[in-house]
């Protein structure tokens, strides 16, 4: 089961071009791409050793299979033979080795942290890649399904690494033929793709998303065949005769809380915050109800989802008030600054909810592009309204959210019991029957011990014209096997 052919529907004539409205990429080089959502477009031009199926489980891709040793510290992938990059060079074990090593060692790499555990990559023969790990980690196949594992042509990055940002060379289902920043990316089918048989589309055009007010019109007028739409446009899209698919995703809205900053240096305040938020109300305005209220980083049905956490921080302003009163900040309203890149909507509503629960909240707007700098790097903000795009591997997700170096853990503290639970997850093979329970235990510890406030899940809502067949519903990374356009 290679995750193909799961799409029911007419297999229309191959060769149609799909016009897709999506956020544009920050870079076409997976090593320097800085946004989580880039993975969707990048996986059009790159392929990894593995890919994820609809549920988020790693399945073979460039590699036909893999094998851990008993200690879990050596992982051997077997490559398909005769693979080629779109520039015509061979995709063999050496190329994989170089590509992975670049991700780990390139000075500007943004995936280096994920590969820190990779001690060595060796290529004993053309189709065998051996990964040596510093510690046992059974998440690697999942990790390699995402940006971290995308194989870039060494010929390309050895010649001009900077050019990759606009001229990617990979071995994905499509090849980028022209790209105008903020405007349009044109891709054509890659006949050398290992799974080319399942790619029915002749070409792919990706456009940046329009204003939410005009997206439905843009679809109607045929400017896009498929576009991601906000929850507010679902009814309009349906009314306009468009097909709407609400695809559960790993994306979750979250508040990054910095417990090193006032007022969250008092755990009571942090706890009060959890009860002060009316998640259902936020979900309603932000997404018009599409999605679920979330208390944990994973969506229902995902291996790490722990039922025990359902409703754990039910909206309770009175309790929040009580907690605040018990805090060192006393009874007076506790001042808090909500930092966001866009004040409209959730932050506004949040402000109102916090104020009702005994806080005195003000909103501070910072440019989206500076958020990384101010929140993730300088940790200078106490409360940031954020979204977590999910990660291909659960451990990786934990690291980002809760790890000592995690981007979304501005307080830089991780309780020891969480670290322990996580280590246990890494050491548990994915096919081990105890894996889900181990992971869920870690989730429970994290949610109870960490300050991050999860709000609601953000499904991927796609509206498409009638000429496009149904889009396969992948939780983590969108894929297009079997999609046709007529």
């Amino acid at each position: 089961a290679c995750g193909d052919g799961t799409v029911a529907g007419p297999s229309g004539t191959a060769g149609g071009t799909l016009k897709w409205g999506w956020s544009s990429v920050t870079s076409w080089d997976p090593v320097t791409s800085s946004a989580g959502w880039d993975v969707h477009l990048l996986s059009l031009v790159y392929a990894g050793l593995t890919k994820l199926d609809e549920k988020g489980n790693a399945v073979p891709a460039l590699a036909t299979g893999w094998k851990y040793d008993a200690a879990g510290t050596t992982l051997t992938f077997t490559l398909r033979p005769g693979l080629k990059f779109s520039d015509g060079t061979a995709l063999d074990a050496t190329a994989v080795k170089k590509s992975l090593e670049r991700g780990r060692d390139f000075p500007k790499s943004l995936i280096a942290a994920q590969l820190a555990n990779v001690k060595s990559v060796t290529a004993p023969d053309a189709t065998t890649v051996v990964i040596g790990l510093a510690q046992a980690d059974y998440q690697i196949p999942n990790l390699f399904a995402g940006k971290t594992g995308m194989i870039v042509s060494p010929a390309a990055f050895e010649a001009d690494a900077a050019a990759l940002a606009t001229r990617p060379v990979g071995a994905g289902p499509f090849t980028l033929t022209s790209y105008v920043q903020n405007s349009k990316a044109t891709l054509t089918r890659n006949p050398d793709y290992w799974d080319a048989a399942n790619i029915k589309l002749g070409g792919f055009e990706a456009y940046p998303l329009p204003e939410s007010a005009t997206v439905v019109a843009a679809l109607q007028s045929g400017q896009y065949d498929v576009a991601q739409i906000p929850g507010s446009q679902v009814d309009a899209a349906k009314a306009a005769g468009l097909q709407v698919q609400v695809i559960p995703s790993l994306v979750v809205a979250v508040l990054d809380v910095n417990i090193a900053k006032k007022p969250f240096d008092d755990p009571k305040v942090t706890e009060a915050l959890r009860y002060a938020v009316d998640r259902a109300a936020l979900l309603k305005t932000a997404q018009f109800g599409h999605g679920d209220v979330a208390y944990q980083p994973f969506p229902k049905g995902y291996a790490g989802y722990s039922n025990s956490l359902d409703g754990i921080y039910q909206y309770n302003p009175d309790k929040a008030k009580q907690l605040l009163a018990q805090s060192s900040y006393g009874t007076s309203p506790v001042e808090v600054v909500i930092t966001t890149a866009k004040a409209e909507g959730v932050p506004e509503q949040l402000q109102s909810q916090l104020n009702a629960a005994g806080f005195k909240a003000t909103i501070e707007v910072i440019p989206q592009a500076q958020a990384t700098q101010l929140v993730y790097v300088q940790h200078s903000k106490a409360l940031f309204v954020d979204q977590f795009a999910g990660r291909d591997s659960a451990v990786q997700a934990f690291q980002v959210l809760f790890g000592k170096e995690g981007l979304m853990n501005p307080g830089r503290q991780t309780p020891p019991e969480l670290a322990e639970a996580l280590a246990k997850v890494s050491k548990t093979p994915l096919d081990d029957p105890s894996y889900p329970s181990v992971l869920q235990a870690a989730t429970a510890i994290a949610v109870k011990s960490m300050p991050n406030v999860f709000l609601y899940s953000v499904p991927r809502i796609l509206a498409r014209r009638a000429n496009v067949s149904a889009i396969p519903e992948f939780t983590v990374v969108q894929r297009f096997e079997g999609v046709t356009v007529s």
Binding site: E211, S212, A213, V216, S232, Q233, D235, A236, A239, A281, K284, T285, K342, A343, E344, G345, P347, E348, Q349, Q351, S352, I363, V365, P367
Partner: protein, 274 residues
Amino acid sequence: MSVITAGRPTFRLPSARFAIAVLAVVAFLAVFGGTVTPHDPLLQDPDLALRGPSLTHLFGTDYLGRDVFSRLLAGTGTTVVAALESVGVGLALGVLPGLASLWLGRTVEWVLLRAVDAVMTLPFIVFAIAVTGILGNGLTQAMVAIGVLFAPLFFRVTRAAGLSLTRAQYVEAAELFGASRWRILRTHVWGKVVPTVAVTAAQATGGALLAVSSLTFLGIGVQPPAPTWGGVLASELGFLSQQPWAPVIPAALIMVAVAALNALADAIRPGGVA
């Protein structure tokens, strides 16, 4: 240049009366708008979000269930202050250099004229974006940027009015009576420059209102939840599919205010432009 034929503003025109009535209401709301709202403009009720007009909510509710009517009333102050702020900057940066270019000799004049030309080549919103991009995103930065762009307008208008006056024969006549410069400024110049500048200021205020709403639409300047006309308009536009009529109300409000300012400008325009 314009030949000034009659001194009195023509407030008797119906359009001028309309303008004054509208502006009086706007001025009142700018000062007291926050106190006369039927609802708290910030009070949210997500259950009531995006409702149409009703007796309790005259103009309906927005995406957070806030009363649009109250938000528009309460937002008048910020909107008007923002517009006036930029016009004030424009006046300060335009009028004084405009006069200076007439009095301080040829070098100053040349430099000022070229500087003004340079500012005039700056595209309005792009410049405002650049300024907020570099100096930080805030209402003040945005308005200062807009004000800087208004400055050439005031500069030219002041200069033109002043220039024709320094050559006017009745000014020469007054000089021949031995009148001092100050007296001439007071009796002959002031009365002509002020209406011209006032006309420009009225028009510029209209322009500033539009600029403020455009910038709000782009997410620059005033930030939610603070209500402003442009903000209400921009957010209503996001919910066209739910309430296609909703943007009409703030848009009409802006249009009426701008039209009133233009009508006022026409009314105080000294004797029409010949």
